[in-house]
Amino acid sequence: MEYQVKIDEFEGPLDLLLYLIKEMKISIDKINVSEITQQYIDFIHAMEQLNLEIASEYLVMAAYLTFIKSKMMLPKSNIDDEEIDYEENPEEKLKMRLKIYKLFKDVVPYFKNQEEERSYLLTKIPTDLSNEFKLEVNEILTQKMNVYDLLSAFNKAMKRYHLHRPLKTKIQQQTITIDERIIQLRNTIKEKKNMLFKDLFKDNDSKEYIVVTFMAILELAREKIIYVKQDELFKDIYVDYIEERVEIHE
């Protein structure tokens, strides 16, 4: 049997069991321990052959399933005394565990959805009023706070920091693309016919602008629209506009 899923896609042995049960198209109540044990162990073996790392909990579960299976094969009379109360039916115990786990697993999509919905709603930094109104110093802080309030405040600040960070750089980057800069440069150089290389960088000293300008110059030179020359090492570099050649049609 080939498996479409890998062990690292499961959240644990119970999750894997639920998957196998679903594949068998049965309900938790209807599981046949002996059958599910075989499926489970086969899956673990297949993963071992793929050299995937298997958390110890999966192996413990394999052992436990084997234990239940063997116990069920023993005649009922062999199990005795007081421990019967909850030891008597490990199969039922397993089903209970699966049901409980499934309860929580099934509510995960709800949380996922809420998380997403909330992430679309944006708010603003509280306005700083300390300049408008005099900030009084608290003599005694009556309301108790704990370290989690502190951690929460820190997290809020960091979240905002990461959210707001790209604001300026992004706009700067977006304001000028290489293609746009090529057009700008071509027009400027065409107009002046001959320019100092360094003058092409002078209207903005941001890193993005310099990189974009440099790339645009390279592209213009490659397309033989401009000609870049330097008379001597360390001397000024000049950029010339190459006049359009008159195309001769046959």
């Binding site: 909990e57 929580f104 509510v107 809420q114 909330r118």
Partner: protein, 192 residues
């Protein structure tokens, strides 16, 4: 101050407090009105925002009301804030959170019993994200830490209170008592 003025002043207040938001108690205090009147003001303002094509609205999370943008123009906001709604919790983390949310106060061992797998790192992460916190210790040997959800948790999932969580047993043929039994039996039940 008449009602129209109060609405305008409330709008200004919500603007100022931003992400901190306002509790109904704070609104009562400022305008010297009853709790019912405060809720009524908040509802009127929300209606005004929803009836007209406006970019903002009012959200109630963790018992506080705050002014937020509406979802529909998120793509516009993304152009300026590239990191909007990027990070998401993993399914494993959501599982742990769900267990803590419904079963709080709860120990790490109990969470792990339900999941059948070590959840130490996930709990550390959720603590660091201030989605859960220590709420006490169990009076048993080793005095294990009990965890519960925080206000940040409520806000993160757009909940006004824990009561808003959906009924866990809705889709399963167990009644509350049976579920409690299951849960108690889990505590005694260790596979290793």
């Amino acid at each position: 101050m008449n009602r129209t003025q109060m609405l305008a002043a409330l709008e200004g207040l919500l603007h100022i407090t931003g992400d901190d938001g306002l509790s109904p108690e704070e609104i009562c205090f400022v305008f010297d009105i009853t709790h019912g009147e405060a809720i009524d003001l908040l509802e009127s303002l929300t209606d005004m925002y929803d009836n007209h094509l406006r970019g903002i609205t009012i959200l109630n999370t963790a018992g506080r009301y705050k002014m937020v943008t509406k979802k529909e123009f998120i793509d516009v906001y993304r152009k300026i804030y590239a990191n909007i709604n990027k990070s998401r919790l993993s399914n494993a983390a959501l599982e742990v959170l769900a267990i803590v949310a419904y079963r709080q106060p709860i120990t790490r061992a109990e969470v792990e019993d339900v999941r059948g797998i070590n959840s130490d790192n996930l709990i550390r992460k959720l603590l660091a994200m201030s989605l859960i916190k220590e709420v006490g210790r169990l009076d048993t040997p080793g005095r294990p830490i009990l965890y519960g959800t925080t206000n940040d948790f409520l806000d993160y999932f757009k909940l006004s209170s824990l009561e808003e969580l959906p009924e866990l047993l809705e889709h399963i043929e167990l009644d509350e008592e049976m579920e409690q039994d299951l849960f108690n039996s889990l505590k005694r039940f260790k596979i290793n």
